[in-house]
Symmetry: C2
Subunit: 362 residues, 2 copies
C-alpha cells in the first residue's frame, strides 16, 4: 500500500526546507487556483460546470444542482474586535448564498464546518450559530451537515451551499452578448466604507480603551460591512419580471474585478458610465470624509454582495421601473476592451483591480 522510500523522498517537500522557493503570493488568488487546478480534467457527463464560475453545476438526472464553497478565516476575513460572532455567522452564510444567487438559483441546503480554539466559550460558539440560524431562516436554507474541529489559533468557518433549478434558469458568467445591458442591484462601496470606519474606531479604541466607538450616522455602511445580505430578493424579482439574465456574477471583490471576470468569460467588452454607478449618500459622504473618491470605492470596494448581470435590450422595459436595479452600461465588442466613461466624458480603461490589490495600493 505504502512506499516508504517514496515517503522519505517526499519528506524533502516539507515547507521549512524550502524557504528560498517562489511564494504563493506571487500568483494572486485567481492565478493560484488556476495554477493548482489546470492539470485536473473533467470528463463526467454529470459535471456541467467546474471551476471558473460562482458555483459548480452537477446534473444527477432531475434538476441541475449548483454548489459553491468558501472558507472564512479569523483576522483575514473578519476581525472579532468589531465583528460580533452573530454577524460573522450570518455573513458567512449570506456571502455563500450570494454565490448561488449569482447563478440565478435559490440556495436550499448548507453544510457548515467550524474550527475553534479552546479560548472560545460555549456561549461564543452559540452566538455564531444564532447568526447562522438567522441566515438559514432568512434565506430558507436547511443545515444538513458539517464538521466541528479544534483550531490551533483562531476561528475558521467553511461553508458549502447547494441549490437546484431547471437547466434553463441557470445563469453563468459566460452568456453576455454584444449590445446587452449591464445592470447592478442595490448600491456599491458601502461595505468598504463601513470597514474603513470600523478600522478607524478600532485604532481609537486600541489607543484609549475608554473610548466608545463613534458610529453615529454610519449605521448603513457599518451594517453593509458586518451583516450583508445576499440578494435572493433580486432572484425572486427577476423571476416575477420573467427576466433571465444572459450572464451574472455577484460583487464580492468589487465591481471592476467582477466586470473583468464577466467580460472575459463572455468574450465581450464593457462600457460603464460613472454617473450610473449607484452609490448611497452615506457611502458618498464617508468616502469624501476619508479623502477617497466615492467612484473608486464603488468600483473597487469589495463585499457588497450585490448582483452584476446582463440582459438583452428587449428586456429593458421589464426592469426599467425596478428601483433597486441600475443599468450602468452595455456590452461592446471584445476588442473595444473595458472602459469607464467618467462624469466629465473622459474614457478611462477599467482596471481588473480586486479587493486585495485595492487595499495594498492605498
Amino acid at each position: 500500500m505504502h512506499n516508504l522510500k517514496e515517503m522519505k523522498e517526499l519528506r524533502k517537500y516539507i515547507m521549512f526546507e524550502h524557504k528560498d522557493k517562489a511564494h504563493i503570493n506571487s500568483l494572486g488568488e485567481f492565478g493560484l487556483i488556476e495554477h493548482l487546478t489546470k492539470s485536473f480534467t473533467i470528463t463526467k457527463k454529470e459535471t456541467k460546470q467546474s471551476i471558473g464560475d460562482d458555483a459548480a453545476i452537477i446534473d444527477c438526472g432531475g434538476k441541475q444542482q449548483v454548489i459553491s464553497t468558501d472558507m472564512l478565516i479569523e483576522n483575514i476575513h473578519f476581525d472579532l474586535m468589531y465583528a460580533p460572532l452573530v454577524h460573522v455567522g450570518y455573513k458567512a452564510i449570506a456571502s455563500n448564498v450570494s454565490d448561488i444567487c449569482a447563478m440565478n438559483v435559490k440556495a436550499s441546503q448548507v453544510l457548515v464546518s467550524i474550527a475553534i480554539s479552546s479560548k472560545y466559550s460555549l456561549q461564543a460558539v452559540e452566538e455564531l450559530y444564532v447568526g447562522v440560524r438567522a441566515a438559514c431562516e432568512k434565506y430558507d436554507l436547511e443545515l444538513i451537515g458539517g464538521d466541528t474541529s479544534t483550531s490551533v489559533t483562531g476561528l475558521v468557518i467553511s461553508i458549502t451551499v447547494i441549490g437546484y433549478a431547471d437547466e434553463k434558469y441557470i445563469v453563468k458568467r459566460s452568456g453576455a452578448k454584444v449590445g446587452d445591458l449591464i445592470c447592478v442591484s442595490g448600491d456599491l462601496g458601502g461595505a468598504y466604507m463601513g470597514l474603513q470606519v470600523l478600522e478607524r474606531e478600532k485604532q481609537v479604541f486600541l489607543e484609549s480603551k475608554d473610548m466608545q466607538p463613534d458610529l453615529e450616522g454610519k449605521d448603513y455602511i457599518v451594517g453593509r460591512q458586518l451583516r450583508p445580505e445576499a440578494r435572493k430578493d433580486i432572484i425572486d424579482l427577476l423571476e416575477e419580471l420573467q427576466v433571465i439574465p444572459s450572464s451574472m456574477i455577484d460583487i464580492s471583490d468589487g465591481l471592476s474585478s467582477e466586470l473583468f471576470h464577466l467580460s472575459k468569460n463572455s468574450n465581450v467588452g464593457v462600457k460603464i458610465y460613472e454617473d450610473k454607478v449607484p452609490i448611497d449618500q452615506q457611502t458618498y459622504d464617508t468616502a469624501l470624509e476619508f479623502n477617497l473618491s466615492p467612484t473608486t470605492c464603488a468600483m473597487n470596494g469589495g463585499e457588497d454582495y450585490e448582483l452584476l448581470f446582463t440582459i438583452t435590450q428587449k428586456d429593458y422595459d421589464k426592469i426599467k421601473n425596478s428601483m433597486d436595479l441600475s443599468v450602468i452600461g452595455y456590452c461592446t465588442d471584445e476588442h473595444e476592451g473595458r472602459e469607464l466613461i467618467t462624469k466629465s466624458g473622459n474614457v478611462v480603461p477599467l482596471e481588473a483591480q480586486g479587493w486585495e490589490n485595492f487595499k495594498s495600493f492605498e
Copy 2:
C-alpha cells in the same frame, strides 16, 4: 437593514470578554454538534438525510445525492514534521471519500478549499495538490470547485465530496436489525500504531537533529497513518457480490465509537468477539513493543478508514470467501447493550470511547 443598537448589544459576545464561561471542550465533538444544531429544522422534501450520518442525502429528482464535508487543520489533524504534503493532500481526499463509501456510494465530485500562510512555498502547495490529484485519479473523482485563502498560521484544508446513486443502494447507519451479522473490512489499529511510531521518531529527531527516523519494519503501519485508502474497492466488491448492507459507517474514530453510533442509530445491541477483530501482524507486534494491548488499539485507534457494516444472515454465503472481510459479531436486542466477548470468554461492556478520549487516557 442593520440595527446598530443590536450590534452594540452583541459586541458583548466577543470572546475575550467571556473567559469565565463554559468551554466548548466540556461537550466533546459530537455533543457540540448536537448542541449547536438541535434548533435547526428540516422540512424540505428534497432533504432525505440531514446531520447524523456519514453524509447528508439530497433528492433533486434524479438519482439521490450524498454529500459530506470535513475540515483538516495543521497540528490538529496532521503534523508536517513527518507528514509530507503530498500525503496530506491524498489523505484529505481519501478520508472524505470514505464517508461517501460509508453510504455504499462511489464519490464523483469534490470541492477543495485551502487556507495557507505565506510561509508556504508555491512548491509546497503544488505538492499538496499532487496528492489531491493522485487521490482524485485513484477514486475517479472530479475537482469542480473550492477556494484558496490566506491563513494567519498553519494550513487548513476543507473538503466537500459528492456522490450519487439510486435510492435503493444507499445505506444509512440506521438499518441494522437484530440477528444481522457485523462485518469489517481490512484490519484495524494500524493507523494508530503508525502514529505512535511517527511520534516516537519525531521526539528522537527533536532531541538530536542528526538522527534519521528509524521506520525499518514499520512500513505498513506508517503507510496506514500517512496515506490511508478509502475502501471504494469494498463498495465495488459488495456490488459484485450483490450484497446491500443493512447499515454501514466508516471507521474513522475507532471501532468502539463507530459500533456505538451504528447500534444507537439502528436501535440494536451488539456482541463482538475479540478473536474475530482483524489485526495485522505488524500492528500487533508494534502494540506489544509500545506496551499497549493490540485489541485496545484495534478497538479504539482511529483513522483506519475501514468500513463497518451489517448484513442479513442470508447474505453470509455471499461474503464468506472474501479474504478482506471479517465477520466480528452480530446484532442483539437493544436492551442487551454493547458487549465484547474476550478471547478468554469474559463479557465486557464496550465503551463509546472515541479517538480523542483514547489519546487522553493513555
